[in-house]
Amino acid sequence: MLNYDLVIIGGGPAGMAAAVSAKDSGIDSILILERDDKLGGILNQCIHNGFGLHHFKEELTGPEYAQRYIDMVKERGIEYRLDCMVLEISPERLITATNKKDGIFQVQAGAIVLAMGCRERTRGSLNIPGYRPAGIYTAGTAQKLVNIDGLMPGKRIVVLGSGDVGLIMARRMTLEGAEVLAVAEIMPKSGGLQRNIVQCLNDFGIPLLLSTTVVDIQGKERVEGVTLAKVDEKLKPIPGTETHYDCDCLLLSTGLIPENELTRNMGAEIDRKTRGPVVTKEFETTIPGVFAAGNVVSVHGLVDDVSKEALIAGKAAAEYIKARA
C-alpha cells in the first residue's frame, strides 16, 4: 500500500492548483490521481480563448491555461499518475484505484482534496421522446471529438440548450464547415454568457430560439431531423408551433452537474442545491481531512475562480496535515 500526506483526486485546474498550493505550504508528499492520459482536465478540449484574464492577467486558451499549471506541478516535482481511475475512497481516507500499469492499488492519504470536476446532463435526464439514433451528443462530447480526436459529429446541426459549451460548439462546428441551423433554449433567457451569444451566435448569424425545445427526433439509425416547438410559461410545448429541421446531429448543452459519486459513497453530506459536497469556507467537507475544490463543489463559470478556490483548499489541506504531524 502506498502512503502520501495528500492525495488529490483529479488533475484538472482544481486538482493542479490545490497540489501547487499544498506544496507551497510545505507539504512534500503529494500524489495527484488523474483519469485521463494527461493533466489539464476539461481545459484540454476548451481550445477557445477567454481564460485567465483574472488569474494570470492575460487572455489564454484552455490548453495554455492548463500548461501554466502543468509547468508549476512539474517544476515542484509533484507526483502524479495518469490513466488512473479512483474506484472508492473510505471515510478513513483509504483510496482504491486502478490503472493499466499497476492494476488495482491502494493509497492511504493523510488528507484528500476532491477535484473530480463535473459532468454534462445527458439525453436521459431530459425526457426527449423518439428513437435512439446515432448523432445525438452532449456538447462536451462533441467538443472532445472535434478538438482532440479530429472527428466531426455531423454536418447539419441543431443545438438544444444555450449553455456556454453549446454556444462555443455552435461557433466551433461552423468554423469546421458544418451548418448550425439553430440553438433552441427552453427558458425565456439564455443560460450562457452574453459575450458568447455575441461572438459565437451573432457573429455567424446562428439564430437563438428562446422558449423553444425539441419535441421530436426523427431517424432510426441516424438522426434525420428534429422538431422544435415553442413552450408556454410552464415549459409545456404549444401545439401548432412545431417547426421541422432537417439535420444529422443534435447537440445537447443543458447543464453541468458536479461529479460526486465518490463523495457520496464516502458518506460526505451533499448540498441538494449545488449537488456538490457541503463545505466550510476552507473547503473542508463534512468528513475531516477531506477537502473539495472547483466544479466538484459547484459548477463555476470561470476557471480563474476554480484556481482561486483550489489554492485555498490546498492550503487548508496542508494546514490539516501539519496540525497532525
Binding site: K38, N44, N49, G50, Q67, I197, V198
Partner: protein, 121 residues
C-alpha cells in the same frame, strides 16, 4: 449622432456598452469597466476584430495526438474569420510543436500569424 448598445466580449463580465458615433466615427464609449472595453466598443463600430481559435493536424506525435490547437496571434478583422478558418484546412504540421510556435504565417492576408496553443511532443 447615433447610439449603439453592445455587449463587450473582452472578458466574461460582458459590460453593456453605449457607443455614441457618427457613422464609423466613434465619439464616446461608456459603460465599460476597463480600457479594453473602450477599445472593443470603438473597433466594433468601425472595424470589428476577433481572435480566432481552431486546430490543425499534427504528424509524428509521441502520445498519439492528431491535432494541435492554435489561435491567431492577435485580433483579425471579423470579416476575415471564415477566410482564416478555410486557410487552416489541410494544414499539417510536424511534432514537436510548442505553445507560441508559428504554424501559419500571415493567415488569410491579415498580417497575423497562427500560433500553437498546445505542446505536442
Amino acid at each position: 449622432m447615433e447610439t449603439t448598445f453592445l455587449t463587450c466580449i473582452m472578458c466574461p463580465i460582458g459590460c453593456n456598452l453605449k457607443v455614441e458615433h457618427e457613422g464609423k466615427n466613434v465619439i464616446s464609449v461608456t459603460g465599460n469597466t476597463c480600457p479594453r472595453g473602450k477599445v472593443y466598443g470603438t473597433n466594433e463600430i468601425g472595424n470589428p476584430m476577433r481572435v480566432v481559435t481552431s486546430s490543425v493536424l499534427v504528424e509524428g506525435s509521441k502520445n498519439g495526438s492528431v491535432l494541435v490547437s492554435c489561435k491567431t496571434a492577435g485580433d483579425i478583422p471579423k470579416a476575415k474569420i471564415k477566410d482564416a478558418a478555410l486557410a487552416l484546412k489541410g494544414v499539417k504540421v510536424k511534432a514537436p510543436v510548442h505553445i507560441g510556435d508559428v504554424l501559419v504565417r500571415n493567415v488569410a492576408d491579415t498580417g497575423v500569424d497562427i500560433i500553437a496553443t498546445r505542446n505536442v511532443e
